[in-house]
């Protein structure tokens, strides 16, 4: 389409380009300042995590550690049974993630590929439940789970993951609708049952969305705060979120230990982010808009 530009227009564009350059310099400056503001708090965590305790509480700030105390990562984590808590969080997150993926995939397949009466009604119920704010169910569900003896256990953090997450289900359905039904039918002709069609054909074909679900499910579980806070009283059973929130208020003298522990808590998320950046950034829009489309 470039050919329709007349000569004056091209010259005009040229002039614009030079002007844009000064604007770009300003933009770069703003971005640089913003980036420093965004990243500096993280850098601050790292420097404190490496400092000796006395070097933190100085009247004149010390922007870089004088000497590096890598032992903070060991001493700090020792003192608060960090690794036990870390294992708790890891276990809960992995088991929940498996549940989220399994249930969303199976329910999504049922809703989009199988034909049965009431399908549309249930579909609208599940999608409608996305609009219900999370806190509405909190108290009755808490009472229900406590009555059946789930208080102070991990079950309230894990079992719900196996009961279908509407957002992830919807995400999977959306992707399934882009896969032609002829794939199912061809497989059926070859004698494949529903299980084979789903796990051998459809899931491998929708791997990007499944990975997105894995990342967001793990992320959600790793971040989960309210549920562990209200269900877990026993410190042995705590997850990292509850443990760190509690240490932050009680543990005000050993900032270096706290920051070291906080950094390790962030680490898995950072790792996932850098490994799966593509899915992270793409998935986000779809996860977010799944609610209202």
């Amino acid at each position: 389409m470039k050919t329709i530009y007349s000569a004056p227009a091209a010259r005009f564009a040229e002039g614009r380009r030079r002007k844009v350059k000064t604007a770009d310099v300003i933009r770069m400056a703003v971005l640089l300042i913003g980036t420093v503001a965004m990243l500096y708090p993280l850098l601050w965590v790292i420097t404190i995590a490496l400092k000796g305790n006395n070097d933190i509480f100085t009247t004149t700030p010390q922007w870089f550690p004088k000497e590096f105390h890598f032992d903070n990562f060991i001493k700090g984590t020792d003192q608060i049974h960090f690794w036990r808590t870390f294992r708790n969080s890891l276990f809960i997150s992995i088991v929940s993630t498996i549940g989220q993926v399994l249930s969303s995939v199976v329910v999504g397949y049922g809703l989009s590929r199988l034909r049965f009466p009431g399908r549309r009604l249930w579909f609208s119920c599940f999608i409608g439940s996305l609009m219900l704010p999370g806190f509405v169910g909190m108290v009755p569900v808490f009472h229900l789970f406590s009555t059946i003896g789930w208080y102070n256990t991990w079950l309230p953090l894990i079992v719900p993951s196996y009961l279908g997450n509407p957002t992830f289900t919807f995400l999977f359905i959306q992707f399934l609708s882009t896969i032609p039904k002829s794939f199912d039918e061809a497989a059926k002709m070859d004698g494949a049952g529903d299980r084979q069609i789903l796990w051998r054909i459809l899931v491998p074909m929708s791997l990007p969305v499944v990975i997105t679900i894995v990342i967001f499910a793990f992320n959600g579980s790793w971040n989960q705060y309210l549920e562990p806070l209200i269900y877990l009283v026993d410190q042995n059973k705590w997850t990292l979120s509850v443990a760190l929130a509690s240490f932050a208020s009680n543990w005000t003298t050993q900032w270096n230990y706290f920051m070291a522990a906080d950094l390790i808590y962030m680490l898995p998320m950072l790792l996932i982010f850098f490994l799966g950046q593509k899915y992270f950034m793409q998935g986000l829009g779809s996860v977010n808009s799944a609610g209202l489309k």
Binding site: T35, L114, F116, S129, F258, F273, L284, G285
Partner: protein
């Protein structure tokens, strides 16, 4: 004529379908239907969570509106919070996205840097900000000090605490930014070229080309922002505990402390209904008013 075998097949398809969606049916029952139905009753009871709920009619609501000293304060604080937080994150998120939607050197690095804080666990960042706001050794006051500005009581000053909580939240601006960015990138390039041919620049292009095309995303973010902000809880639970002097007592946090701190289950559920109602009203109002502004591409068929 339906043969026996096809009827059997129908029956089997029915069973198969329901088997597949049974997890979600149970989930819907346990997390949506059951709590909604029970909440209607629990809201009308005096109940500590252990003993049998005692029916008291509208006493909870009566106490809520007329006696509870913290309730109206919590409502006011929650409104302030939503009315500052939602526009601030929308505006800054959009500005940032526009800034990052350019062919600049190292643009990928900038996008990653601004997005990075949002991938960190919420509690990790909230506890971090608690330290940043520390009056003596926190990062915030040390930086103010560099510019010769006096130390602030970020979290212990009644008038500042809520703003501090909101500022900490703006660290996560990247979440909205990335969504706006994808919206901006889907605006067809030839529209900009056409606008430029017509001599439109800067603000005019934004006002007449960009803005109308991203209104659906803007609207979605607005609704999600309102719903999310009304439910904010961990921010104040971790950073301020609702204080000082209730200055950051968000309604959802008040519900949490009434239920799990004071063991007032029935009362807490009554408050849940109020918050739920407020969210619904706000969502409906937003929905109604934005219909006039939101531009959907397939509207002018």
């Amino acid at each position: 004529m339906i043969s026996a075998s096809s009827r059997k097949k129908d029956y089997w398809g029915w069973v198969k379908g329901y088997l597949h969606i049974s997890p979600s049916i149970i989930g819907f029952g346990v997390f949506v239907a059951y709590p909604l139905i029970m909440s209607v009753y629990y809201a009308l009871t005096d109940w500590n969570g252990y003993s049998k709920p005692k029916y008291v009619g509208f006493d909870n609501f009566n106490y809520l509106f007329t006696i509870d000293p913290a309730f109206w304060k919590a409502i006011r604080i929650t409104f302030y919070y939503v009315l500052i937080n939602v526009p601030a994150s929308l505006i800054f998120g959009l500005l940032l996205a526009m800034l990052l939607n350019r062919k600049l050197p190292a643009i990928k690095f900038f996008r990653t840097a601004f997005y990075l804080p949002t991938v960190l666990p919420m509690i990790a960042t909230l506890t971090l900000w608690k330290f940043i706001y520390h009056p003596q050794y926190g990062l915030a006051n040390r930086i103010l000090n560099l510019f010769g500005a006096g130390p602030l009581d970020w979290l212990s000053n009644e008038r500042l605490a809520l703003v501090s909580v909101i500022i900490a939240g703006l660290w996560q601006i990247g979440g909205g930014m990335i969504i706006f960015l994808s919206g901006l990138q889907s605006v067809p390039q030839d529209l900009y070229e056409a606008a430029e041919m017509d001599g439109a620049r800067g603000w005019l292009v934004f006002r007449n080309v960009t803005l109308p095309l991203i209104t659906p995303i803007l609207f979605l973010q607005l609704i999600l922002g309102i719903i999310g902000s009304f439910q904010s809880f961990a921010q104040v639970q971790v950073m301020t505990g609702g204080g000082p002097n209730y200055a950051t007592l968000l309604l959802n946090f008040k519900i949490y402390s009434d239920v799990f701190g004071q063991k007032m289950f029935g009362y807490g559920i009554a408050e849940v209904w109020i918050l739920f109602l407020i969210i619904m009203v706000f969502t409906l109002i937003t929905y109604k008013y934005s219909n006039q502004f939101v531009h959907y591409e397939n509207d002018n068929r």
